[in-house]
Subunit: 293 residues, 2 copies
Amino acid sequence: MLLGSVEAGGTKFICAVGNEKYQIKEKVQILTTEPKETLKQCINFFKQYDDLQAIGVASFGPIETNLASEKYGFITTTPKKLWQNTNLVGMIQKSLSVPVSWTTDVNGSAYGEWLNLQEKSPRVSSLVYYTVGTGIGAGIVYDGNFVGSQGNPELGHIYVKKHPSDMNFTGVCPYHHDCLEGLASGPAIKARLGIAGENISKENKIWQIISYYLAQAAMVATLSFRPSKIIFGGGVSSQWLVDLISKEFSLLLNNYVEIGNLSDYIIVSHIPDNGSATLGNFALAKKKLIRII
Amino acid sequence: MLLGSVEAGGTKFICAVGNEKYQIKEKVQILTTEPKETLKQCINFFKQYDDLQAIGVASFGPIETNLASEKYGFITTTPKKLWQNTNLVGMIQKSLSVPVSWTTDVNGSAYGEWLNLQEKSPRVSSLVYYTVGTGIGAGIVYDGNFVGSQGNPELGHIYVKKHPSDMNFTGVCPYHHDCLEGLASGPAIKARLGIAGENISKENKIWQIISYYLAQAAMVATLSFRPSKIIFGGGVSSQWLVDLISKEFSLLLNNYVEIGNLSDYIIVSHIPDNGSATLGNFALAKKKLIRII
């Protein structure tokens, strides 16, 4: 059995084919230009594989995931104008005639992380996955299902307590200015110092500020879902930053609720090559197939 | 069939007996003194009813709700010293020999609200219930189940963005100082003006500050769970305060996600006589009974 994965990002589409054990056979990157062109390349890639049974798609958004909506499967009101109102699922399904699972990019990754943890520690019944990069997003998996009743979580846009050394920074979120994403995303880091996060030394005090905000994100995850684990992924996340976040989190939580061993509770993504979405998509494709059969 | 309800509060226990349609037959209040004395009165009340089939208990806490724990059914590390480490469920079960459901006080109320909404609008699949009074707590019901994997939500203790006119108030939470509860609970209101909230006029500007914080609580509920409804209950909540909260919420959210009609989305508890916990307990008792049968 072969499964497909499409990680539809704002700058590139990562397409992969793997077997039922989720081992990758082939993986390609396609530039995100305009829908017809990008999807044509995408579909041509999958057409090479006659045995393809199902495809999991995790996409940038906003996207419509409500099955009852006429717009199910669409990228909707994205700021990327060429992609507004694009029926991504419809186009893939029409060309490849296989079942397609459909979720947000961050949910795809969260599901990959969940699956990866299940193999190692089946006691993990829930997780909150934060991606910190161009934006901040969260995917929440609870007993194998995504959380979100009327839509997908958007935990990147909560408001946070300002760090005392950061009172004058007004934030970069076009909707909320100084929400979490406006204060702690990659562009927010760059807006303060004029250089990108990857070129700023670990010793720079900006990381105290960033970890203070991301620790509050971990607080919200803890106090709302009481999850088994919190995982940080995305371009900005790394082990040393997660160490800083954990230290701040510990001070902020002040032992108010039991979270077990902190270094097991807040972790950095361990799936190599940013592969969590591909893994998650394979598994969601398989799940879709099982439901249909 | 008769069902029992115990709403175990820090100052009083409200005990009630009702029928399978959740109509109350009798309701009494018992002062919370020390466990043996309070529970003796509680149990004597229920012993009058031979047909009692099950009891729902919703308690102040912290409480242990993990079925796998030896301390399941206990009030654990409460600041009320006489009640620390009290096996509430065990004592009730032993004396009355009926199944006992067990959850937090705020979950009991949240379940009552959920049930009440189900009767009116069965499309409601999830809700977040905030109680604002001596403390701030949240109960989250999702397709008829409580959210909380490793424990119960504690959304009263998230950190929030400070209101510009409130920068000098340091908050009253003994654990976190200026968390939500530390800034917007009944004692936090009193700490600023020296008088209790119920004696402060609606025109006082403190309500702008309080509603700014409670609007952030509604933001967190929205962006984490994407619930069908958010309900405010407890001593501080009222329709005019919910109107203020909704106004602030609308400004803060800035249409970032679809929430439908705002006045249907954020509402004040409509169950009369603070009866949401009693209703919820009856239903949880019945659910317990059905599971056992």
